[in-house]
């Protein structure tokens, strides 16, 4: 989804060729999300079909097409940039589901499950931090991407720590007797 708008954004500067768009996309997103050229052309075809870009073969030598953004494309791009992204539905988070499942599986030490993930995530964070230290100093856009990833992974660690804390408290204090009414309310809230 965001590739479509990223291409529109790149074309809003000036008309460009397909291979050029691919290169610029990778450069401007810190080389973190590789994009294959096929994906670029498929997306451009769809954008052209929807009237958001147009191509002009005549002004180029060979068979290469040059693409330019249309007025409708500019409007679409401006709308996307100013519309908040949809965060209403919680993502189906595999780690959350895994921990919830593990709570009920006999013989599983949930704190061990938490630690396995904590270590794995911290190791990943070490790699991102090293990347930021090596190259992020010179590449502002890469530093932004790395920060986003570090904050995301950091939130996973915080959640793991919170689960650890709850398990500890839960072991020392008995759980509240009935949870039925809140669960009903929660279901209604999510369905809304």
């Amino acid at each position: 989804m965001s590739v479509k708008y990223a291409l529109l954004g790149l074309l809003s500067e000036r008309p460009k060729y397909g291979h050029q768009l691919r290169q610029e996309f990778e450069d401007k997103t810190g080389d973190v999300w590789p994009l294959n050229v096929g994906q670029v052309y498929t997306t451009l075809q769809r954008l052209e079909r929807d009237g958001l870009v147009e191509s002009n073969r005549a002004d180029s030598e060979g068979s290469q097409k040059r693409f330019r953004i249309t007025v409708a494309g500019e409007r679409e791009l401006a709308g996307w940039i100013l519309t908040p992204i949809d965060l209403t539905v919680p993502p189906r988070d595999e780690l959350v589901i895994k921990v919830l499942v593990a709570l009920d599986v006999p013989g599983v030490d949930v704190r061990n499950v938490l630690q396995i993930h904590r270590r794995y995530v911290v190791e990943l964070m070490q790699q991102w931090t090293r990347l930021k230290d090596d190259e992020g100093q010179y590449d502002f856009r890469l530093a932004l991407v790395v920060d986003a990833e570090l904050f995301r992974l950091d939130s996973v660690i915080r959640w793991l720590d919170a689960v650890d804390g709850r398990l500890k408290r839960d072991a020392s204090e008995p759980r509240a007797a009935s949870t039925e009414i809140p669960i009903l309310r929660r279901r209604l809230a999510v369905r809304k």
């Binding site: 704190r111 270590r119 911290v122 190791e123 964070m125």
Partner: protein, 240 residues
């Protein structure tokens, strides 16, 4: 030989039913040039581990070696000398003396160790220059930002060629950008041969370390292995 070695270190407070194990059976080795982070929730024994490593507190059992010397066999004066000449501390609260300027704070450990005021000041200026703080030398702590205060505190911790740096939540009160500056400074200190131990509950800070040790209920339960090069992230990076 590692600069800092802890062998089976335990610390117990209280006796009988009130006995609390702050840390238990800790084995830890920190080499010169490396930065180790100790991560754990509050109450997991992180700070106790640090005060024992810096000889501010004695373990109930086990042994601590700094630069090959056993702290157990060291006299009271020997330990005090070690703390002045070898070990530098960085705390969350900076602990700068309000009535002294930045350079006076930084050079204080040398003066206390008998170095002349003039020489100490020159050394203090040199460290502040190294850490890009020379233009703040004559400011008082309350004229510095939080990040600058912590950088002055790090300068004070490494002055005089001290090569064991112990930091307790060194960027606890700072925002992310300043926390990053502090960690970069600790890393550059390590590149000059310093061994550093940082205790923190913050994964972003810990991720600057060469190795992260996980502490739970006073015990080391796990540690990271050396990460592969950061380049591998770019090849396997998330797909759009």
């Amino acid at each position: 030989m590692s600069l800092l070695e802890l062998h089976q270190v335990s610390k117990t407070y209280g006796t009988g039913p009130n006995e609390v194990h702050a840390v238990a059976d800790i084995d830890l080795e920190v080499d010169r040039g490396s930065l180790i982070a100790v991560m754990g929730p509050s109450g997991s024994g992180k700070s106790t581990l640090l005060t024992i490593a810096g000889s501010l507190e004695e373990p109930t059992s086990g042994e601590v070696f700094i630069d090959g010397e056993s702290l157990q066999e060291m006299s009271h004066n020997g330990k005090a000398r070690l703390r002045r000449r070898t070990v530098g501390y960085v705390f969350q609260e900076f602990n700068l003396l309000a009535g002294l300027t930045a350079v006076e704070n930084v050079s204080l450990p040398l003066e206390l160790d008998g170095v002349s005021a003039k020489k100490s000041r020159l050394a203090g200026m040199a460290v502040l220059e190294q850490l890009n703080l020379a233009d703040r030398a004559t400011r008082y702590p309350d004229e510095l930002s939080g990040g600058e205060r912590q950088r002055v505190a790090i300068a004070r911790a490494v002055i005089g060629g001290r090569h064991l740096l112990l930091a307790d939540e060194p960027s606890g009160a700072l925002d992310q950008a300043n926390g990053e500056v502090v960690m970069r400074m600790l890393l550059s200190a390590c590149k000059t041969g310093v061994a550093a131990v940082v205790v923190t509950h913050d994964a972003q800070l810990a991720s600057w370390a060469d190795r992260v040790v996980f502490l739970r209920d006073g015990r080391i339960v796990d540690q990271t292995v050396a990460p592969p090069s950061a380049e591998s992230l770019l090849q396997t990076g998330p797909q759009s």
